[in-house]
């Protein structure tokens, strides 16, 4: 599955003079590629992803999956093509809210929604998919617990399991490693790689982006500041100018990927 975004621009609707949040962003993700979207807080990563997963309609530009404009297909069809792990919006009802809340298994089963007709029951096939999704993200032991009572990292893994249960060919992930301890950061990234699906992920941990992604796009103030392989994008000069932090970068002798050492005390 391929993803193509052309000349994306977004400014908040009905806001008159408000600034443009994303301008002239074009990117593509090839079959089976894992592409990282990096950039400082507020640089527009989530906004770009939300245009890709059809929550925000671009002010200009277009998003296409396998050549089809995402706004020309139904929400349901779209949900069978792409599964989304959204950035946590700070404890909505997803987190239980005033309701008793869903169990972990129910939460993961929601991933089957786009595949089921209204008359169909959840059958053994669905149960198997849900079970294996929970196993792969390590949440099987908490399957019957209430989602609301989980820790931040556990919730993140449950939402990842839900995206897996959707069985889509394209994964759109907004900070998939958010809240995760080191072990699960690597496990989730390894899992994404091992699925062999096409994926785009917004990432904050540059070492993870460097280690796992085939290519990176670096956003700065809503513009693309750089794109290319991790070694091309993650240079001392770009990190200094975009993040304002000095870093020493060596290429790993075995993998050839950049290895970043931050030196926060040195002035840029």
């Amino acid at each position: 599955m391929k993803l193509q975004a052309r000349d994306l621009r977004w400014r908040p609707p009905h806001s008159g003079t408000a600034r443009t949040i994303v301008e002239d962003v074009s990117l593509h993700v090839g079959e089976g590629e894992l592409v990282g979207l990096i950039g400082p807080n507020g640089s527009g990563k989530s906004t770009v992803l939300r245009m890709i997963y059809r929550i925000l309609r671009p002010t200009a530009g277009a998003v296409a999956v396998d050549g089809r404009d995402v706004w020309e297909i139904s929400a349901r069809e779209n949900a069978r093509l792409m599964a989304v792990l959204a950035q946590e919006q700070g404890g909505g009802v997803d987190a239980g809210g005033g309701f008793g809340g869903f169990s972990v298994r129910e939460m993961v089963s929601m991933g089957r929604t786009p595949h089921k007709s209204p008359f169909a029951r959840d059958d053994r096939h669905d149960a198997g998919i849900v079970q294996s999704a929970m196993q792969r993200t390590g949440v099987l032991p908490m399957a019957e617990r209430s989602f609301a009572t989980l820790s931040g990292g556990e919730k993140q893994r449950v939402l990842m399991a839900r995206a897996l249960a959707q069985q889509a060919g394209l994964l759109v992930l907004d900070e998939p490693t958010n809240h995760l301890d080191v072990r699960y950061q690597f496990e989730i990234m390894n899992l994404i790689r091992s699925l062999g699906v096409t994926a785009i992920a917004a990432l904050h941990e540059l070492h993870i982006a460097a280690h796992y992604c085939d290519r990176l796009y670096l956003l700065e103030n809503g513009h693309l500041a750089a794109s290319g392989t991790p070694a091309e994008v993650l240079t001392e000069a770009t990190i200094a100018s975009v993040y304002g932090v000095r870093a020493a970068i060596r290429l790993h002798p075995r993998t050839g990927r950049p290895h970043i050492e931050f030196m926060p005390d040195d002035p840029v």
Partner: protein, 346 residues
């Protein structure tokens, strides 16, 4: 789950039986169903000999108490289901058709029909149709008020609903008092308080039909309701067309509320209490919540109606008074449990 449903259905049947035996004239539980059986057999065109009951007992069971108790069950189930649906629509467990002014909208529509005979073309269905239209308008108005750049603001939802409810109650009173019909004023008074008195068999058909069809339709949408409860963005990424789904739910909620209000007036807080209790019993998944809430709501209102008839006998209270007496404190308790905020965690 099947066990729970069977148990609740059994409890409902017992409650209905008991509800029918209660009242100034004593009736044995056994005769309730013998009289009902006798009537049903007669209606099938078969011969059936009258049993050992008196003519008065027969009249009281068949013509007065049974339709009333059955209507209580229907309305209780209907309002509970409306509560469940509205709460998923606005993602707020404090949503209730009465609290958010939807019942008041239905009342305005119904009173306009009674006072001025609007919608005369619809014949006997003019009243429920007017109530439905009024409920739909109130529903859309409250939603529109609470909506701001793609998000529902919980305080505005509750306060806006209450404000619209007051406003519409004012309209109801205004229409009632200026229409110049004395009987109308009495009818409207008992009805704004919510009352099941004087129910006739022919009033049961429409609510029963709408209730069954409504629950069936909602069960088909159950996955969508679950997703909606998880948030609009999540629902969309799971393939739910949230705009279209909400539109359908608006119509359904208004239809159910309108039809129930047309027969029983505005009975408050059932849509608030019953879904809450149901979720404590079976969780949040709508394929379980919907049928259980319907049964719990039915049982609850049958008992409340029984209480309304016997508490101050021979004076009968409108059921709405009792549901408000229980529901108000319940609402306050829910507010406290949620840390005094009518919002949903954000």
């Amino acid at each position: 789950m099947p066990v729970l449903l069977a148990a609740l259905a059994g409890l409902l049947l017992l409650s209905i039986t008991f509800g029918i035996t209660l009242g100034p004239v004593d009736i044995a539980p056994g005769s309730v169903w013998r009289i009902a059986g006798h009537e049903l057999v007669l209606r099938l065109g078969l011969p059936s000999a009258a049993g050992e009951w008196t003519h008065a007992q027969h009249q009281i069971v068949w013509l007065i108490r049974m339709p009333r108790v059955l209507l209580a069950a229907l309305v209780g189930a209907g309002l509970a289901v409306v509560g469940v649906t509205m709460q998923a629509m606005v993602r707020n467990p404090l949503a209730d058709p009465y609290l958010l002014g939807v019942s008041s909208g239905a009342s305005v529509g119904a009173v306009l029909v009674l006072a001025y005979g609007v919608l005369g073309f619809a014949g006997v269905y003019a009243l429920p149709l007017g109530a439905f239209a009024g409920a739909l308008l109130a529903c859309v108005a409250v939603y529109w008020l609470a909506h701001s750049s793609g998000r529902l603001l919980a305080p505005r939802l509750i306060l806006g609903g209450v404000a619209i409810g007051y406003c519409l109650s004012g309209v109801t009173s205004l229409v009632t008092l200026t229409a110049g019909q004395r009987e109308l004023a009495n009818a409207v008074l008992s009805w704004t308080l919510g009352s099941l008195a004087g129910t006739r068999w022919d009033e049961l058909g429409l609510p029963a039909l709408v209730l069954v069809a409504g629950i069936a339709w909602l069960l088909l949408q159950a996955r969508g309701l679950n997703a909606l409860l998880a948030g609009d963005e999540t629902a969309s990424t799971l393939g739910v067309d949230t705009t279209r789904m909400r539109r359908g739910l608006f119509v359904l909620v208004s239809l159910l509320t309108g039809v129930m209000v047309a027969v029983s007036g505005a009975i408050g807080f059932i849509g608030l209490m019953v879904p809450h209790v149901t979720r404590m019993l079976v969780g949040t998944e709508h394929r379980r919540v919907l049928p259980v809430a319907a049964l719990v709501g039915a049982i609850f209102l049958v008992w409340v109606d029984a209480g309304a008839r016997i508490a101050f006998a021979p004076t009968e209270l409108p059921v709405g008074i009792i549901t408000s007496l229980i529901g108000g404190p319940f609402f306050v308790w829910m507010l406290y449990r949620r840390g005094m905020s009518p919002g949903v965690g954000r």
